[in-house]
């Protein structure tokens, strides 16, 4: 009865929709339109229609290819190291009696610290002279290593990201483990299914849905990488080898100021994001999309 009169609806919804419409959905469409123009700099009003030239350039751009490669690598790292480690840690914490609370608090804390601060911290670890890593090597009697070299830099960006997000997936998986009814384990125990066997035959199938949600999160999350890469290796240093879509977009927007081209990159990322999430969700038939609704 109370909600039959629809007039208040507009007052409730309008403010949020207005802000989101102007600053989220309109820019999205604007991007798409801009990607067919050549626009140099923000002040200039001159726009030249170039058709699909920007997209043609995208296909030839080696840095885009590098960013795509790095993103794909990050997706693999996310699934293998982040979610993998998180799963192992979660199963372990779920099986112990004392200290579970402590481990949960410690494992999760990196996620609340900004990527900027963590990146800065790792820059201190990577420093050639007196960085933590080289000091450890020195203590072990080994030669110092140039951590941010051409071939290692990308892994040095991946390392703090992995460390930071293990805790995140850990808590999600642990929540899933906690919702497994205790009597299932008791029956299994009586049937002689114990230890690793129990993990493989009972725990894993029961948290499979949660893991699928984690995969989708990890994959879309890899497309969102910006801060960590920027703080550790700005402008894709060295030689553009560590570019992700976010860092390259920032560079083309504010450094080269080729605004039309940046818009084409943005459209590419959005399409990639939607395609990949759609494909993954179809592939594993996950309800991750609406995971948040059963709070």
């Amino acid at each position: 009865m109370l909600y039959r009169d629809k007039r208040p609806l507009i007052i409730f919804l309008a403010p949020a929709l207005l802000v989101m419409g102007i600053f989220l959905y309109y820019p999205f469409l604007q991007n798409f339109a801009d990607s067919f123009y050549e626009i140099n700099g923000f002040g200039a009003v001159t726009k030249t229609y170039v058709g699909i030239e920007n997209y043609r350039q995208l296909l030839k751009d080696k840095t885009i290819l590098q960013a795509l490669k790095n993103t794909c690598m990050m997706i693999v790292f996310t699934i293998v190291f982040e979610i993998g480690t998180a799963l192992v840690l979660a199963i372990m914490v779920d099986s112990i009696k004392t200290g579970a609370e402590f481990f949960r608090t410690v494992f999760f804390f990196p996620i609340v610290i900004s990527a900027t601060a963590i990146g800065l911290m790792f820059n201190l670890f990577y420093a050639y002279n007196g960085g933590l890593f080289n000091q450890i090597l020195e203590k072990l009697g080994l030669d110092p290593v140039l951590w941010l070299s051409d071939d290692k830099a990308i892994y040095m960006i991946a390392l703090p990201i992995v460390w930071q997000y293990v805790g995140f997936y850990f808590v999600i998986i642990l929540t899933g483990l906690n919702s497994i009814p205790e009597d299932i384990y008791e029956h299994a125990y009586m049937d002689g299914v114990r230890g690793l066997k129990r993990v493989w035959y009972i725990t894993l199938p029961l948290v499979w849905d949660v893991l699928k949600a984690c995969f989708v999160l990890g994959i879309t999350g890899s497309l969102k990488i910006f801060d960590m890469a920027w703080v550790i290796a700005p402008y894709g240093a060295p030689k553009g080898l560590t570019h992700f879509f976010g860092t390259y977009l920032y560079q083309t927007t504010f450094f080269s100021q080729t605004v039309g081209y940046s818009s084409a990159i943005a459209v590419l990322v959005v399409i990639l994001g939607l395609l990949i999430s759609y494909a993954v969700m179809k592939l594993i038939r996950s309800k991750a999309f609406f995971y948040s609704e059963d709070v």
């Binding site: 840690l89 099986s95 579970a100 977009l249």
Partner: protein, 296 residues
């Protein structure tokens, strides 16, 4: 679901690991991971009380004669030479993130209430759009957003960051709050209506008080996200004096990257308040982050 309580019950009723060997293995792995995580932070905090030369020689031992020099530099010298200071950056961050939280909770709360309680024609479409907007990265919108902000003349103005940050966080807030309000029984609201309450007083006097925990979660999470954000802040605030904490930290790293002591103290100054907030509110934060998992 309440993580802490179920975890606790679970631990109590859980049958012990029989095998002592596997028990030892499990605890060593857990302790190792925890040790690495804590040690990295400890190394930074410990060395923030040391002089640069001392860090280069030996950074592992516990600091014996602590110096506050690095902190004096972090709070003082930066401001004279470069027209920026950590105190100022904190104030900027507080203004930006505080305002974003207020905007997000108010606009998000109103919209979530409507989405949870009313049925109307485009509800499904809206649901889809809200969920979809969490999937693609916010940085893809920077070009048009920056131009709009420039046209209105809000570059270097905190409002120029607050509005886009609000837009980016609203979908998350609406989805979380909507899920929460949906689960509340409607009887009390209907009763209040029969007593003569209008829909707005129902919202403010009946729905809001019971949804406080959900609002707290959304608020904390929005604050953290906004405080930690670098991309939007770096793009729109292009003068050092208007830098919030993240942007300043990035600037310090590129300018004073070789001054280890200063870098350690700057990192400590930024991280410690967040850690304290985390320890106090960890239940809310964990719930928010896992519930809003799609935010990523």
């Amino acid at each position: 679901m309440d993580i802490t309580e179920t975890a606790f019950e679970k631990q109590v009723s859980k049958s012990k690991l029989k095998n002592t060997l596997s028990m030892v293995l499990v605890y060593s792995v857990l302790v190792l991971w925890a040790f690495i995580s804590i040690y990295m932070l400890f190394w930074v905090v410990n060395n923030s009380f040391r002089e640069r030369s001392e860090i280069l020689n030996d950074s592992f031992s516990l600091v014996t004669n602590p110096t506050a020099e690095n902190y004096r530099t972090a709070f003082g010298r930066l401001s004279r030479e470069e027209n920026m200071s950590i105190g100022r950056a904190y104030l900027n961050s507080l203004i930006i993130s505080g305002s974003t939280v207020i905007c997000v909770t108010i606009l998000g709360g109103l919209a979530a209430y409507a989405m949870a309680r009313y049925s109307f024609r485009f509800k499904k479409v809206l649901n889809f759009i809200f969920a979809g907007s969490l999937l693609f990265p916010a940085y893809t919108l920077i070009v048009p957003v920056f131009r709009m902000i420039q046209e209105i003349g809000l570059v270097n103005n905190p409002i120029g960051v607050i509005i886009p940050q609000t837009a980016v966080n609203l979908a998350f807030a609406i989805i979380i709050l909507m899920g929460f309000i949906k689960n509340l029984p409607t009887e009390i609201e209907e009763a209040a209506y029969l007593e003569g309450c209008g829909v707005f007083s129902v919202f403010f006097r009946i729905v809001l008080p019971v949804t406080k925990p959900a609002f707290a979660t959304v608020g904390i999470f929005t604050f953290l996200w906004s405080y930690n954000d670098l991309f939007l802040q770096m793009s729109i605030l292009r003068k050092r004096v208007s830098y919030p904490v993240s942007a300043l930290l990035n600037e310090i790293s590129s300018q004073f990257g070789t001054d280890f002591g200063l870098m350690c103290s700057a990192t400590t100054i930024v991280v410690i308040p967040v850690l304290i907030v985390y320890l106090i509110l960890q239940k809310n934060i964990m719930k928010g982050l896992t519930a809003g998992a799609i935010k990523g």
